[in-house]
């Protein structure tokens, strides 16, 4: 027994710095935020005191329910779009790219190196009202209002673009792991190209789909940079609200309440999703 304890100490010793860091600077801050969300401000002083003020939640949600649902809507649509356009690319890189594979992988991660804000600004330039892109989309009837910027479409497009690599990389990783012989076996057993895809390739790549959708959806829900640069008056997301409540309006209690609800809802959504899709993807594939 004593020997067993002695042997475990190095484990805790190795674990201690990281665990403490995460506890002090992640878990405890969440606790403080939870507390703050139940505080009341002493009027005009920026002082807060703890009063179990549950009405902070009620008020914040009543005021900002639109943005809340909009965030989930935009993030959901963007995630589906990422999956739909990311899958073919991941598939081609994994199975068909040959010697182009590394170059295509590079193209996937290249946007990462240009700074998130700068590439979003680039989209602002590309999609501006008088740009050729917008005019083209307008002529083929895809920009009914004559403009794309300052619409939900632009925000969703921005989110889709910015988080696409988060979708493609896990998809590629799981597709690449598929043994080509399995696909050959499927064809050998009279499956057509499309039924091979639907019955073999896609199910085998599900861990990548799960990981990719989570890696896309979670940051997308909380994002506010795209809505800030590409959106208009009616496209603000919950991230914009939280940051403006915190940073410009000093309404800390409402901001904390909204943050808490956001986190809780995301956890619930993720939990349900993982229940349906299996947990390996998020928790990391320990087995392989």
């Amino acid at each position: 027994m004593v020997a067993a304890i002695r042997r475990r100490v190095p484990a805790y010793f190795l674990l201690a710095p990281g665990t403490l860091w995460l506890i002090i600077f992640f878990v405890i801050p969440l606790y403080f935020m939870g507390k703050l969300s139940l505080d009341t401000e002493i009027p005009g002083t920026l002082h807060y005191h703890f009063t179990w003020e549950w009405s902070n939640y009620k008020e914040a949600l009543e005021l900002y329910d639109t943005q809340f649902f909009r965030s989930f809507e935009y993030a959901g649509i963007a995630t589906v779009l990422c999956l739909v356009i990311g899958y073919p690319l991941a598939y081609v890189i994994a199975f068909k790219a040959g010697r182009w594979r590394n170059l295509m992988l590079f193209a996937v991660v290249a946007p990462f190196f240009t700074t998130y804000l700068v590439r979003t600004l680039a989209w602002e330039t590309i999609l501006s009202d008088e740009s050729p892109v917008t005019e083209f989309l307008h002529t083929i009837g895809l920009a009914p209002g004559g403009h794309i910027l300052a619409t939900g479409f632009a925000v969703i497009a921005g989110i889709t673009y910015n988080f696409l690599p988060f979708m493609i990389l896990p998809l590629y990783a799981s597709l690449e792991r598929i043994d080509v012989r399995v696909l050959e076996a499927s064809k050998d057993l009279y499956a057509s190209a499309s039924s091979t895809f639907w019955k073999v390739t896609l199910p085998l790549s599900l861990p990548g789909v799960v990981a990719g959708t989570l890696l896309t959806f979670i940051p997308a829900v909380g994002d506010y940079v795209n809505a800030e640069f590409l959106g208009g008056v009616n496209n603000r997301m919950i991230g914009n609200v939280i940051q403006s409540l915190y940073l410009t309006q000093s309404d800390y209690s409402a901001a904390a309440a909204l943050s808490f609800v956001l986190m809780a809802v995301i956890m619930i959504v993720v939990f349900i999703y993982i229940r349906f899709a299996g947990s390996e993807a998020l928790m990391g594939q320990e087995a392989t």
Partner: protein, 309 residues
């Protein structure tokens, strides 16, 4: 293995049975070609989509706007490339970002690697909780992380918002990613190598220094690169906890209000090319290292076997 698979579409091998190709009409042939290559075409379009903004940034880094605003194309100039660091505010922000990213990378890589080793190598009470603690930050939106950390600093009143709080925050959100990357490398690690070292008289520390560490080094290096990229690109969490310290993304956000100087595009491109070079170099190094370290039995046939039987 799949890399060398022929790019031919699966439909091709069945076609000779159906009759000669020339029997097909022109449009039918075009349609068939399109169907066979559809996925490739889509993939190429997606690649173009991914690269378009980079091209735009590159092009606009040569723009010569008359006023302050680099929004519309005016004319070509090399002026901004010849003096990329003339904007002292921008340069300072960039230096702050690099310093911050380097420090955050070093700290998070060290403690993240320690954690990964503990998680993979040791069975202990609370392992599940520790795993959970690592996953949760990755499942939390940045805005919530930034906001909660700000609440924490505000209530505590110390340390003052600034470089220190940024460092704390950046290390915090990098740790999880480091752990995940290093852990995956450790999971694929052949434990018998360590047993062999111990068997040959190496103590636990010597074993780590001579065997484990050199072999997981590529994983640690990858984790460090990821941490650096995450840190230098972070805007949301930084925006909450920066106080009056300005990092590169924060500078851009501020400048976006008043018009982005062309130098921002130049510096962004410099950062881009530097990262590309660093990544290319790292991949080359890693591949060289892996070529030397991997045991590949399939090479057996390449080497002359001295007859021993």
């Amino acid at each position: 293995m799949s890399a060398t698979a022929p790019t031919a579409a699966p439909g091709q091998e069945t076609s000779p049975g159906r009759g000669s190709l020339s029997a097909e009409t022109g449009p039918a042939r075009a349609w068939r070609w399109l169907r066979e290559h559809a996925v490739n075409i889509v993939a190429i379009l997606v690649v173009i989509y991914l690269l378009v903004p980079i091209v735009v940034i590159f092009v606009f880094s040569f723009n010569n706007p008359a006023g302050r605003y680099n929004f519309t194309w005016v004319g070509f100039t090399l002026q901004h490339w010849s003096h990329p660091f003339s904007n002292s505010e921008l340069t300072e922000a960039m230096l702050t970002s690099i310093k911050l990213a380097l420090l955050a990378t070093v700290v998070s890589t060290i403690i993240g690697t320690m954690m990964a080793i503990a998680l993979v190598r040791h069975k202990f009470v609370g392992r599940r909780i520790a795993n959970f603690l690592i996953v949760i930050p990755m499942a939390t939106p940045e805005v919530v992380m930034g906001a909660s950390l700000l609440s924490f600093f505000l209530i505590l009143g110390t340390p003052a918002l600034g470089f220190e709080t940024l460092l704390i925050a950046h290390v915090m959100f990098c740790i999880s990613f480091v752990v995940v990357v290093v852990r995956s490398r450790l999971i694929g690690f052949d434990r018998s190598l360590e047993e062999a070292a111990k068997d040959l008289g190496a103590g636990p520390f010597t074993t780590f220094r001579l065997i484990t560490f050199p072999l997981i080094l590529p994983g640690i290096f990858g984790a460090a690169m990821l941490a650096f990229a995450l840190s230098i690109d972070d805007f949301v969490i930084s925006n909450f906890n920066s106080g009056t310290t300005v990092t590169f993304p924060l500078y851009i956000f501020g400048a976006a209000q008043r018009g982005i100087p062309v130098e921002v595009y130049v510096v962004a491109m410099i950062l881009f090319f530097a990262t590309v070079l660093a990544m290319g170099f790292a991949t080359w190094q890693q591949r060289r290292a892996e070529r030397m370290t991997s045991i590949r039995p399939e090479q057996e046939s390449d080497i002359v076997l001295p007859g021993i039987a």
